[in-house]
Symmetry: C2
Subunit: 567 residues, 2 copies
């Protein structure tokens, strides 16, 4: 039988860690799933269904040992926003669209695997991701405030409108709901650090500490549900509750593949797939490097693709590796994906036995769980860092951040990518060009403005710190001509190519021009330190014949020495 | 009075050249203008109006002495395609939209001047431009075939549909029109080289040769008009003719600035402005470099912007510097923009005296003029060159070429730009990373795979041939870790930064990671040849403190020598 590697080599010693981690993650996952379902505007069972089969598929195909797959905040937010754009009202159709979206995301990830396109996420620069995640966290937190206040604010609005509506409607808040919300927030906050500190002081064992500290959401759910049920808060004070969740495992379904629906979902499916993959692989890599394990990005694409398809056909919505739960899994001592299989089993058990107990679960408690889960994602550190180190990076981050907040998540991420690429191109279109001279007593040549160097008035030695390509050839041509015009004595121009890894055909044409214009002015062009791959390509051109291969030198020092002996 | 420089320093000796060039260009411009008007689907007088005031404005503000401004093929094609998308049928509204388009283009060019955005054309790589121009030339030539055959084919179709319609409808051709078309093509072709060769043999003077060789279009117009008039071909055989052109100079008008129209025209106005500016500045630069004159791209933006606004308010359509006419102007000996002023005067004179004579001018003759004007623009040389030198460039060229042919001009240019940028990013996201060693007897370090070099098994010296930025940091990290994993003896990694001109904040984070991961494996990281600007920025970070500034060496040789003495 074709077993995954981790299962073939499974050792008895790994079981304890996996068992504990699997249980703790399940305790976190059940309430979090329902909360993320609510965030996406979907019934809680859809989110619970997404927490069974996808985990098993990832356990079989994934390369991370500790990544905890399931519903995640960002994808749930984007799923909700995508579905609301469809303008459908019937509840069945909304759920059905979520299945289709998950299927499309799964197919896109598998296609990315086949086409080996995993590297596209490299074009999401760190500041853009950080701006995007921070703004999304704010949107998610804001979107949940209505549940805390017990208000009826429409979904899918820009952040500032949501905020405005909540502030203006605050006087109409449902006070009992608000009390439940605040109590839940306080309870969850206590579990985060005050309780942990207390338990540490009284000397609780590490395993118990792990378990207790992660069970905040479970307690919030249990307490608030009991309060609503016992005091009949849903009837007496119309506190919004989760309501009926069907008992039993999901049925296998074939998602709706109506071409019109598919075309409508496709652009956002692409973005959500990208974000889901990015989030998963970043988490997986960061955990793996701490244990010197390897993450295979191809395997990750295949595993996440399969997990999403599994989610789609088992009545779920899009899934990815979640940061919070993966950390829980990792720090609770998960040794292998068996932990995830155990989690999936426990969620399945919940579905067949416990769902009726969630009937009275107030939405405000779930909202509190979401809010406390996303607040740590608001990242001011990266902004400060980028601001000090590189203003253009800080600028892309701000643009992404505000576009997400003011327009929407999809536009924000696209604007951020466009911004990063645009700034990079702008930077490389005006390369740094230095006049260099010899550092005395060495064969080393450096910028005349930064080092004490020896130069020769007949020789202009220029170092271009960039590849030559269409966007910077005009700049190079203009700069060389300007230097030459400024200095009457120059008879030789030595172009130091140590930073040039390729010369595209526009640049080659420009070099042809430079050679021609210099010749007209009785100036000889030389190259030094041309790299192997560049030289190979130049040899195929007529440019080299026009210039003469004798004007190409291995090192700057050879070029300058040769020219010095000549005159 | 504020006179342009060329006028203040005008010398009597320049007059002869300017006069001759001015007259020859006018002889070419009058029939060509009407032809380009037809190409844009506009009445001939609109094109003639575009050939008066814009020329004078360019003469005042432009920096090229010989650029011949007026209606040009590419812009006329794009103007026609833009207006047809508006779905307006009334002739007055069509003309009015053309004025608005010219005004928008003028404003965009002036804005580009103010924002100093002239450099954006650098992002149009040479192969993309070549593919775009070649495909446009084919579209223009195809679009005129219907006039040659006397067929009624709708405008604005993709090239293949136009071709298909012409072939299938060919049997219904108007035979007399076809004869006029073929005769005109033959006449124009004869003027191109057979006649010139003949005249040279019989020893005609250079000035007469210039004049005669450029007057092909004039003769085609005169002969065909006379034939139609004399034989009443328009009545007897329904040969399509130009018809009534109002006598007199244009009235000043204020273009329609209806916001809806402006918004519809804006995207294409941007592209047309870009193409017009690109065409003009390339021609101006190529002529100026032959006479060691300077082109100021800011002045060009201002001058072309003013020329388009002048065209808009004097009843014209978008204008730019035309390649063919500029060459005529240049080779006929134009010494200053006075030549253009003379041309403008002669076109004005034509408008007040000669337009009734054009009544019987057959459209087939104008079509022949356009076809012979654009055929030289089909550029196979650049493709062959790119194919041999750089396949990715050849590939962008093909994509642009076929997108223009199959979809349309606007999509083609956008696809070409996206393609060039995408390929460039792809290339720079997988930088060349070489392991280097010392070339014996020198202080020079080169790739171990290409040169016979000395290495030390404890020291890994790596040269990264690219700036470090978000798109390639993962690749760098993976590559270094792979090299280190492959070689157990390594204790020191020296990163040679000679090709690194900037490190963005994503890359800085990655370097932090690399440092951390190497330290865990007991390997020390060193930098060599860090450039001044990069070092300045690194000094502001905590990374440098973590790594230790003592691990940064001025040259690779210093780094290796130091490490060699240590162990």
């Amino acid at each position: 039988m074709l077993l995954p590697d981790w299962l073939k080599n499974y050792q008895r010693a790994q079981l304890n860690g996996d068992l504990l981690a699997g249980i703790i993650v399940a305790v976190v996952l059940v309430p979090q799933s329902m909360a993320y379902g609510m965030l996406a505007g979907l019934p809680p069972e859809v989110a619970l269904y997404s927490s069974v089969l996808p985990l098993i598929l990832y356990a079989i195909f994934g390369s991370s040992r500790t990544l905890a797959v399931g519903p995640v905040g960002l994808m749930s937010l984007m799923t909700g926003a995508t579905i609301i754009e469809l303008d459908i009202v019937h509840a069945n159709e909304i759920v059905s669209a979520a299945h289709t979206l998950a299927l499309l995301i799964g197919i896109i990830l598998l296609l990315m695997r086949i086409l080996k396109l995993g590297a596209v996420i490299n074009f999401l620069s760190h500041p853009v991701i950080s701006g995007f995640v921070s703004a999304s966290a704010i949107i998610i937190a804001l979107s949940q405030m209505k549940h805390i206040f017990g208000l009826d604010v429409p979904r899918g609005l820009p952040a500032y409108e949501t905020l405005y509506l909540i502030i203006t409607q605050a006087p109409q808040s449902n006070v009992v709901t608000l009390l439940i919300g605040i109590a839940s927030l306080l309870l969850l906050w206590c579990f985060k650090s005050p309780l942990v500190n207390l338990l540490k002081k009284i000397g609780t064992t590490e395993a118990a500490l792990q378990f207790i500290s992660k069970s905040g959401p479970l307690f919030a759910v249990v307490f608030s549900t009991f309060a609503v049920f016992h005091l009949e808060l849903n009837k007496q004070f119309i506190v919004p509750i989760i309501g009926h969740i069907p008992l039993g495992l999901p049925n296998m379904i074939l998602p709706n593949l109506n071409p019109q629906l598919v075309m409508q979902l496709l652009p956002n499916a692409l973005l959500i797939a990208l974000i889901g993959y990015l989030e998963s692989i970043s988490i997986a890599k960061s955990m793996a490097s701490q244990k010197r394990q390897k993450i295979d990005s191809n395997k990750e694409l295949a595993a996440l693709g399969s997990a999403n398809i599994a989610s789609a056909i088992s009545g779920g919505f899009p899934v990815a590796g979640g940061f919070g739960r993966s950390m829980v899994n990792f720090s609770a001592g998960a040794n292998s994906p068996l932990a995830s299989v155990i989690t999936a089993g426990l969620v399945g058990l919940t579905l067949v036995t416990l769902t009726p107990l969630f009937f009275f679960l107030p939405k405000a408690a779930l909202a509190a769980i979401i809010i406390l889960a996303v607040i740590p994602l608001i990242d001011t550190h990266t902004f400060k860092h980028a601001w000090n180190y590189d203003r253009t990076d800080a600028f892309s981050m701000l643009i992404t951040f505000f576009t997400v907040l003011i327009i929407n998540v999809e536009t924000g991420i696209v604007a951020g990518i466009a911004m990063s690429i645009g700034l990079y191109l702008h930077r490389s279109s005006q390369p740094h060009i230095a006049i260099v001279g010899r550092v005395e007593g060495t064969e080393h040549y450096r910028n005349i403005n930064r080092h004490t160097v020896v130069t020769d008035k007949e020789i202009l030695a220029l170092r271009v710190d960039e590849n030559l390509y269409f966007a910077n050839t005009n700049y190079l041509e203009d700069t060389i001509m300007r230097f030459v015009a400024d200095n009457q004595f120059i008879n030789h121009v030595v172009l130091i190519c140590s930073s040039i890894s390729f010369i595209d055909s526009s640049a080659l044409e420009s070099l042809d021009n430079i050679l021609y214009r210099l010749k007209k002015a009785n100036i000889q062009l030389h190259f030094a330190e041309v790299k192997g791959p560049v030289m190979d390509k130049l040899r195929t051109t007529t440019f080299l014949k026009k210039m003469g291969e004798e004007h190409i030198f291995l090192s700057t020092h050879q070029a300058i020495s040769f020219l010095n002996t000549k005159h």
